[in-house]
């Protein structure tokens, strides 16, 4: 049996990248998309095969070759295809394929057409390496490589300073997270002697009760490792306090935002936490940190999204917020719910982004929703698909987003811990805000009257079919994807939880209290609670949509009034809580200041150089002074000699004198 077909899944996009980057400019040119799209299409087909095999229970775990070896340290390049990987494979290759198709229309005529497709291929390769890795170091490889592609693609239009800045910012902010991630990986090696998942998860007992001293206080080792890994996740998944890069990343072409900054790369953090779930579950502290970080990020980003006018930034903040939900799920031990939301989110969020791209395409690059309006009749396909995706993200029953979000909220509530209840409340409020801001931009952009220029109005058109077909496919996904996880109380089987159960555990919290709570959830008494929780979710979703309709359809003058009434709050939200400014003030500028004024000017130039140049100067100076002795005048020498003789004579006489 050919079990190595899966190597082709990442390899084909890599080949496409090499072909396009080397020959793209000279030879392939306008046909770059053929190479790239064909490669990812075959990867998609092979991923489906891998998925089918994984659902029959087969797990592939194979080393390819030894990557790095030194002494006892040895790590291989290898592949693991289990159920978690299989779901990720489907998400990555299918969204990537659709984005490739969409880009054919969207990027048409761009000077960097082959470059764009080569980076899309490179990204797909890197993301696949990330999810298919069987060890932490290769995961780190994929992790950094997707960051690199993100850098290239955010800065795709590098002539624009804002794009170049955003790309740099994304990479550097992520480096802060990866700093922790890297140390976590090192700690894992030092404690387990291996970086392979199988070896690590088999020997968890080694660290279960170990502690380390940090600054005089004892910290449990699982907590430390889990939190260090989570640092990486915080960076990559744009959680507080490292969320600042993602909204800026919208400088990249919209298909990139859909693929990298919504559906795949940013979810890598969630994937990491789910993959390392055996370590996380060992540490209740780390789990709570994950849940609370997720919850706070969710509501934080949602409040910002309420007032932004840039259509892509609203969707970006919405992504940050939804990623927060996924971490909430992981934090309360419901890893499968987190992955479930990751998977449904990929469809509706990619759809939202591509719709935004379609709108931009029609509006000549305009992003401000205040300058849109009434687009519904010009671009019906975009409107309907965006409507479906918005309904889905708002959590309206029957669509994907409802099932996954409700699952998360229910798992948070039913976990029984105070943290669980806390994040549930946050989650419900965020759900309300989500429904509101999603429909706010939909109503502002598609309903009412057109507020743009005449020229823009003249230009309005529906996008070409290469763009609308992916929209339709994704919107179908935004409806049906959720049926993989219909909960038991709605007569479903929660298939995805069972499917992922082999990797993340059915009830996956190590804390016995949690386990009990979760078991209780299946009891009859809890059923009514579950209905109640679901009812709350539905009510807030509908209320959110309705209030958006009220404010932006019925009384469009109201929002401005409210904004002026609560001007300070509005300003705070509009300026994203001034986080960027804060970082600039306390990190960026001090670093540059120290660099220029202390290290360069004082230590290096004044201090070290002072000594270095001072020594020869001293030698020269003393030379100058001593030179005066050598006057060349015989009389002086004679004088000095006479004085010397005299002194010597005195000394001799004095020395011998008293002895007599």
């Amino acid at each position: 049996m050919d079990i190595r077909y899966y190597i082709l899944i990442p390899l084909l996009p890599l080949l496409a990248f090499v072909l396009n980057i080397v020959l793209g400019k000279a030879l392939i040119k306008r046909h770059a998309h053929v190479v790239a799209t064909a490669a990812v299409a075959v990867s998609l087909i092979l991923s489906v095969r891998a998925f089918i095999e994984a659902s029959s229970g087969a797990v592939i775990n194979q080393d390819l070759y030894t990557w790095i070896a030194s002494g006892q340290f040895k790590v291989s390049a290898g592949f693991l295809v289990d159920q978690l990987t299989a779901i990720m494979l489907i998400v990555v290759t299918s969204v990537s394929f659709l984005v490739h198709v969409y880009s054919i229309g969207y990027m048409h005529g761009d000077d960097g057409y082959p470059r764009f497709f080569s980076f899309l291929s490179l990204f797909t390769f890197s993301m696949l390496m990330l999810v298919m890795s069987n060890n932490f170091l290769q995961l780190y490889f994929g992790w950094e490589a997707v960051g690199l592609c993100s850098y290239f693609l955010i800065g795709f239009w590098y002539e624009k300073k804002s794009a170049a800045d955003a790309a740099k910012k994304a990479f550097i902010v992520n480096r802060f997270g990866d700093f922790g991630f890297g140390l976590g990986v090192i700690l894992i090696f030092l404690n387990f002697g291996s970086l392979h998942y199988a070896d690590v998860f088999k020997n968890l007992g080694v660290i279960a009760s170990a502690t380390v001293m940090i600054c005089g206080s004892e910290v449990s080792l699982p907590t430390l490792i889990a939190l260090l890994l989570f640092c990486g996740a915080v960076g990559k998944s744009a959680q507080l306090p490292l969320h600042v890069w993602l909204p800026d990343a919208m400088e990249g072409p919209t298909p990139v935002s859909a693929l990298i900054h919504a559906a795949t790369m940013v979810t890598a953090g969630v994937f990491l936490v789910a993959r390392a779930n055996p370590i996380f579950t060992l540490s209740p502290v780390a789990m709570n940190v994950v849940a609370i970080t997720g919850g706070l990020t969710a509501i934080f980003a949602a409040t910002i999204a309420l007032v932004q006018n840039d259509i892509k930034r609203v969707v970006a903040y919405s992504t940050v917020s939804q990623l927060g939900y996924m971490f909430v799920a992981c934090g309360v031990g419901a890893f499968s719910a987190g992955i479930f939301h990751l998977y449904t989110h990929a469809f509706f969020k990619a759809c939202l982004f591509l719709c935004a791209g379609s709108v931009m395409h029609a509006m000549g690059g305009e992003l401000d929703v205040q300058k849109m309006g009434g687009l519904k009749k010009f671009m019906p396909v975009t409107y309907w698909t965006m409507l479906i995706a918005s309904l889905s993200i708002a959590g309206i029953p029957g669509l994907s987003g409802f099932f996954s979000k409700d699952e998360i909220l229910w798992k948070a509530l039913s976990s029984g811990s105070p943290v669980g209840k806390f994040v549930w409340i946050i989650g419900v409020v965020t759900a309300l805000l989500t429904a509101f801001y999603s429909f706010r931009i939909l109503f502002l952009a598609f309903h009412g009257t057109f507020r743009g220029t005449e020229e823009q109005k003249h230009h309005l058109h529906e996008s070409p079919s290469s763009m609308t077909i992916p929209l339709v496919v994704l919107s179908v996904g935004a409806i049906v994807a959720g049926y993989a996880g219909v909960p038991h109380i709605l007569g479903g089987h929660d298939w995805i939880a069972g499917f992922l159960g082999k990797v993340v555990g059915l009830v996956s919290v190590g804390n016995p209290e949690h386990v009990e709570g979760a078991i209780h959830s299946h009891a009859e008494g809890e059923m009514s609670h579950e209905w109640l929780a679901m009812a709350v979710s539905v009510v807030v979703a509908v209320f959110g949509v309705a209030s958006a309709a009220f404010f932006y359809l019925k009384r469009p003058e109201l929002p401005k009034k409210i904004a002026t009434m609560f001007a300070p709050i509005y300003k705070l939200l509009f300026n994203k809580y001034y986080v960027d400014e804060f970082y600039g003030l306390i990190i960026v500028r001090p670093c540059y200041w120290v660099s220029e004024n202390i290290l360069d000017k004082v230590t290096d130039k004044m201090f070290i150089e002072g000594i270095v140049n001072g020594l020869p100067a001293l030698v020269q100076w003393s030379g100058q002074k001593l030179r005066r002795i050598q006057t060349g005048v015989v009389l002086h020498y004679a004088l000095v000699m006479a004085v010397g003789v005299f002194l010597l004579a005195v000394l001799v006489l004095l020395g011998t004198g008293p002895a007599k």
């Binding site: 980057i21 400019k25 070759y65 030894t66 990557w67 790095i68 070896a69 030194s70 002494g71 006892q72 340290f73 170091l137 780190y140 490889f141 950094e144 490589a145 690199l148 850098y151 800065g155 590098y158 002539e159 624009k160 300073k161 170049a164 800045d165 740099k168 990479f171 550097i172 480096r175 802060f176 700093f179 890297g182 140390l183 090192i186 090696f189 030092l190 670093c591 540059y592 120290v594 660099s595 220029e596 290290l599 360069d600 230590t603 290096d604 070290i608 150089e609 270095v612 020869p616």
Partner: protein
């Protein structure tokens, strides 16, 4: 006294590698100075010929052995027990190869940029090649010191004659700085000879010197090596030397010359003064970490392309010394690998800067901008080397830095963590540099520059291949070091036992 440790299995690979460029340099002296093309082709042929000559080192090296290989030994000055003895082990073999590659690339990059005193220039380059291979191959201290100082003169001339506007200051500074260090090393060499009666390095590696003497010698050699590395705070010659040196000079400085300091630690300090090295390792780790962070942060405010890359070398060499003095397998292998990596990456970056300087005649970062639109192929190459310098997985920089941080963390947790911050800083200054030079609108000062030629692509391509080769299959290179580093560590651990014994004895008394 005849050396008995070096097995007498004469091969002539190393002597050829040392003599071939020197003889070619001598041959150049006989050629009419106006015949530039002939001179350049002879220099190229000699350097490529040397590259072919050293191939057996790569293919025939016995990776399972920690002994010196390709050893050649001839009596030289019998009265002083000085021999001509050369050979390589797992630590030095890769540097001989790297020297041969770098010298060839230096000839290539100077093809059109050096127009003045062409003959003397290539004589200097070839002479340097012979001397630097000699440094890495020498197994006799006297011979080593000779090669070590022989490097200095042509390098001084390279900066002082073909350098930038402030070249004399930089050249003299470079010369005095390194000479000061070397003089102390010379005292150390003499002291060792007086105590042991031999210059034979292999014998000395197996000789146990008294602890106090070890300490004295450690510091004497440290002076020479720390200046060369350069370690903080004796690094200030490097930015000046790099900035003023011609492209080929910067490349040799960055890729080979500063490696000699770290190589000296591995060849002398650790095996010959193991107890002192262990005692001083914490201090070395502290200096290394300071260099990593200091060198990184100071890069943020640099306005000159070459100066920035020079300071980044201080930071990267901090990683190297951290790895070496973490005194464990991962750290030391990572350190040695990072020496190669830094040679490849920074060598490539200086080659790149040389290429663009040849066109624009400016090194001010502010004079650039939008170069990616003007020179797309060049910017792709530069991008690869930038990310290798940042240490992106898949490039060679990652493997080295990861092993060093792993080793450093094992030795001293704080040092490992602080070193890891260097990785963040590295990303900041390199990406800022890349953005300012290559992105945003095209600066009119560089508008219309032509992209790199085939010759220049050929110059950069070998280093590009090495970046990915080491990045994806470092085993091909770390395999050379395994046996040697392991045996060196056994020696150090043995030294640890010995130091412990002396300590116990002292307490008992």
């Amino acid at each position: 006294m005849i050396n008995t440790v070096c097995p007498i299995e004469q091969s002539c690979v190393l002597t050829t590698a040392i003599l071939l460029p020197v003889l070619a340099a001598a041959a150049l002296m006989l050629i009419n100075r106006e015949r530039h093309t002939t001179i350049k082709w002879i220099a190229l042929a000699a350097s490529i010929g040397n590259l072919i000559a050293v191939v057996p080192l790569f293919t025939n090296f016995d990776k399972t052995s920690a002994r010196m290989q390709f050893v050649e030994q001839y009596r030289w000055i019998e009265a002083w027990h000085i021999n001509y003895c050369v050979g390589v082990d797992g630590i030095s073999v890769l540097f001989v190869l790297l020297s041969a590659i770098i010298a060839t690339l230096c000839v290539l990059v100077s093809w059109n940029s050096v127009k003045d005193k062409v003959k003397e220039f290539y004589i200097a380059i070839l002479f340097i090649e012979g001397a630097m291979i000699g440094v890495f191959a020498a197994l006799d201290m006297f011979l080593f010191y000779m090669f070590w100082e022989a490097m200095l003169i042509p390098m001084y001339l390279l900066i002082g004659v073909w350098g930038g506007p402030n070249r004399l200051y930089a050249a003299v500074k470079f010369f005095l700085y390194t000479l000061t260090g070397s003089v102390l090393m010379l005292l150390g060499v003499v002291a060792i000879y007086i105590v042991t009666g031999t210059f034979d390095m292999v014998r000395l590696m197996n000789t146990q010197l008294p602890f106090n003497l070890q300490m004295l010698l450690f510091w004497a050699f440290f002076a020479a090596f720390a200046v060369k590395v350069p370690m903080f705070p004796v690094h200030t010659w490097l930015p000046d030397a790099h900035t003023e040196a011609p492209a080929a000079g910067s490349v040799i400085l960055a890729a080979i010359l500063i490696k000699m300091g770290a190589y000296g630690f591995l060849r002398f300090s650790l095996p010959m003064f193991p107890d002192a090295s262990q005692a001083m390792a914490p201090a070395m780790v502290v200096l290394s970490v300071i260099a990593i962070i200091y060198g990184g942060i100071i890069c943020l405010s640099q306005k000159d392309l070459k100066r920035l890359i020079a300071y980044s070398s201080v930071s990267h060499m901090g990683f190297v010394t951290l790895g070496i003095f973490s005194l464990n397998m991962q750290g030391m292998e990572g350190g040695i690998l990072q020496m190669i990596n830094h040679g490849v990456i920074t060598g490539a970056l200086f080659l790149c800067v040389g290429m663009v300087y040849e066109r624009s005649h400016t090194r001010e970062i502010a004079d650039y901008g939008g170069l990616a639109s003007v020179m797309p192929i060049f910017s792709a190459f530069f991008m690869v080397f930038t990310f290798a310098s940042i240490g992106l997985p898949g490039t060679n920089g990652f493997v080295g830095e990861f092993l060093i941080i792993l080793g450093g963390f094992t030795a001293n947790k704080t040092a490992g963590i602080l070193a890891a911050t260097g990785v963040i800083i590295g990303a900041v200054y390199m990406l800022c540099l890349y953005q300012q030079v290559f992105y945003t609108g095209v600066n009119e000062k560089i508008a219309g520059l032509c992209d790199i030629t085939l010759r220049e692509i050929v110059t950069l391509l070998p280093l590009l291949i090495l970046v990915f080769w080491i990045g994806f299959y470092p085993g091909a290179f770390t395999g050379f070091m395994d046996a040697t580093v392991a045996s060196l560590l056994v020696k150090l651990k043995g030294g640890e036992m010995h130091a412990l014994n002396t300590l116990i004895q002292a307490v008992v008394r």
